[in-house]
């Protein structure tokens, strides 16, 4: 019996094997390979160590500084500016009494979350088309001349913001709807007895009850500040606007896989990884301290 149980323990490792093998190939070996950020990578023979050479080139390159600027601006728009929108959405939806309308609004606005950015880019390119796109048709009703938003440096970041909102507004409101549903009705009942109005109830009951959820969402999003959404930018950028939307991840892709500057690109990835790590750990700690819930 004992031997049997012992054997069972080791066969558990067998069950873990496929997952470990996957992590090895797609995570651990590539992570250990990032040492080449400190080398001049050669396909054949030994890659010589060059210290911080690639980082020095990286940090002194104007292209990289612009890329950092773009990343921070786009992330700011998508994390900070976007932040209140799903909360407002959830608060408004919570006031809709008809369950059929609620279901319709929910199932419609959650849908874009499940579309690929390739599809969304296709939809938006058509919608923003200067010749026949829906938005320009709409603006035409107000006598505003058509604009090509996709190739307009002044507009493209707002296109990113708007399409991100289009995709995520509904889906990101789910967590707030859940929090709203868990507020005890007795709080509102006693407020009613005290003669509180709708806005007083909102200010003194609803918002404080939502606060922990808001803090968690905000802090955890901050952990991914340097991401800025590769798939979105990759599918919505074009030569006319690349200078204002090129982010770290698209830059890493271009110099790495297109220009084949392997070590240089890895140095940029490592930089992003280290800052990202610090942000994620800080977010995890911060969220744990304030709300008791972290990333793991």
């Amino acid at each position: 019996m004992h031997a049997m149980a012992k054997k069972n323990e080791w066969t558990l490792l067998l069950l873990l094997m496929p997952a470990l093998l996957y992590f090895l190939i797609y995570h651990f070996i590539p992570i250990s390979g990032m040492v080449m950020a400190f080398q001049d990578y050669r396909i054949f023979g030994k890659s010589p160590f060059v210290g911080l050479k690639h980082f020095r080139i990286l940090f002194s390159s104007p292209a990289f500084l612009q890329v950092m600027r773009n990343t921070l601006i786009i992330s700011f728009m998508k994390i900070v500016l976007f932040f209140p929108l799903p909360i407002i959405f959830a608060l408004m939806l919570n006031e809709v009494r008809s369950s059929i309308l609620r279901k319709f609004i929910q199932s419609t606005t959650y849908l874009p979350h499940f579309l690929s950015w390739v599809v969304i880019a296709g939809i938006w390119i058509a919608f923003l088309s200067p010749t026949n796109g829906g938005l320009n048709q709409l603006l035409g009703l107000f006598n505003i001349p058509p604009r090509d938003f996709m190739t307009d440096k002044g507009a493209i970041r707002w296109v990113l913001f708007a399409s991100e909102t289009w995709r995520s507004l509904g889906w990101d409101s789910i967590i707030y709807l859940a929090a709203l549903a868990s507020i005890s009705p007795s709080l509102y009942e006693s407020a009613d007895l005290d003669g509180a109005g709708s806005f007083q109830k909102m200010w003194y009951i609803t918002l404080p009850e939502l606060l922990p959820t808001m803090v968690t969402v905000f802090i955890l999003n901050m952990g991914f500040f340097l991401n800025a959404g590769f798939d979105q930018v990759f599918n919505m950028m074009n030569d006319s606007v690349i200078s204002v939307v090129d982010i770290l991840d698209t830059y890493v892709y271009r110099i790495g896989l297109l220009n084949m500057q392997y070590s240089f690109s890895t140095a940029a990835s490592l930089f992003k990884g280290v800052i990202g790590l610090v942000l994620i750990l800080a977010a995890h700690q911060g969220s744990k301290r304030i709300t008791g819930k972290g990333l793991w």
């Binding site: 149980a5 390739v118 296709g122």
Partner: protein, 299 residues
């Protein structure tokens, strides 16, 4: 205790306004998609009548879809996507379940060490270049497996599944163990049937992920006959590379070809890429959104 009083007029006004605003958001979500659907289904002779805000087709024709169905590259890419999605999702569920089961057994040797590994996977992302070089070295270049295996285990999903498995009463597992059942049998016969809702949810998410994947395919696949649909879509619609699909000349085997519009053909490919997501969407709503809402209420 508190009798239902009639809502005051101000409250009704705000509720009405909120409903109208929310319905306007729905219109903004739906119109761009319905517009492409209308464009794709319109009679080619009347396609120019379809403007940016048109949501009903002008006339009716399936010619765009017939052109796509006759294009070998397009059909192939659709089948590739189906293959990647089906095989990939099955593998995801199996490997994630096996790992979640092993990691939730207190007797697993080196359990803490493995948990640390998982947290590392969660917070450290390898460089794109080094991942690419490893895939090249292990010989997965230009293989569908390089795409299928990517994200075999999503660590967030793994942790969700572990939480779920932990809820299963240990007595059930112990009973099976006394019967001498092997771990794999316990997993497939006891645990997985009990975790059906969780597995269904994760399966849908993994499935949508595979269906929507295009980037790994774009860097690991070199043969266009291996491309998934999303990659063809990207070249044809996003990069507006009309030759990527039509170069084969099949387009011109149609009488209506001379009148066909690229815009309408592009719209049709987008619709085909959305359709499978739409088909499983009710299931997603059923399993996930409801689960989250109910989970929220319970807490």
């Amino acid at each position: 205790m508190v009798s239902k009083v009639k809502a005051p007029a101000a409250e009704l006004f705000w509720r009405g306004l909120f409903t109208i605003l929310l319905l306007f958001v729905c219109v903004l979500v739906l119109v761009p998609m319905l517009n492409l659907l209308a464009l794709s289904l319109s009679d080619p002779a009347r396609v120019s009548e379809v403007r940016g805000l048109t949501v009903f087709p002008k006339g009716f024709s399936l010619v765009n879809y017939r052109v796509l169905a006759a294009n070998p590259l397009f059909v192939r890419s659709f089948l590739n996507s189906v293959f990647i999605t089906v095989v990939g999702t099955a593998l995801n569920l199996l490997v994630t379940s096996m790992a979640a089961f092993a990691l939730t057994r207190p007797k697993l040797p080196f359990r803490r060490f493995f948990m640390v590994l998982i947290i590392i996977v969660m917070i450290l992302e390898p460089a794109l270049v080094t991942e690419y070089l490893v895939i090249k070295r292990v010989g997965l270049m230009n293989s569908l497996w390089a795409v299928i295996l990517y994200k075999t285990v999503n660590v967030y999903y793994l942790i969700i599944l572990m939480r779920y498995f932990e809820e299963i009463p240990p007595s059930l597992i112990d009973a099976a163990q006394v019967d001498g059942a092997r771990n794999m049998t316990i997993l497939t016969k006891v645990i997985m049937p009990l975790a059906k809702p969780a597995l269904a949810t994760l399966g849908l998410f993994y499935g949508v992920f595979h269906w929507n994947e295009y980037f790994r395919a774009s860097i690991y696949l070199t043969d266009p006959m291996k491309y998934p649909l999303q990659l063809i879509l990207r070249q044809f619609v996003v990069l507006d590379d009309t030759a990527s699909l039509i170069g084969s000349g099949t387009l011109f085997s149609y009488d209506e070809a001379a009148r066909l519009s690229y815009d309408a053909l592009q719209a049709s490919t987008i619709i085909v890429a959305i359709l499978p997501v739409l088909i499983v969407y009710p299931l997603i709503l059923k399993y996930y959104a409801r689960g989250v809402m109910e989970g929220g209420v319970k807490e």
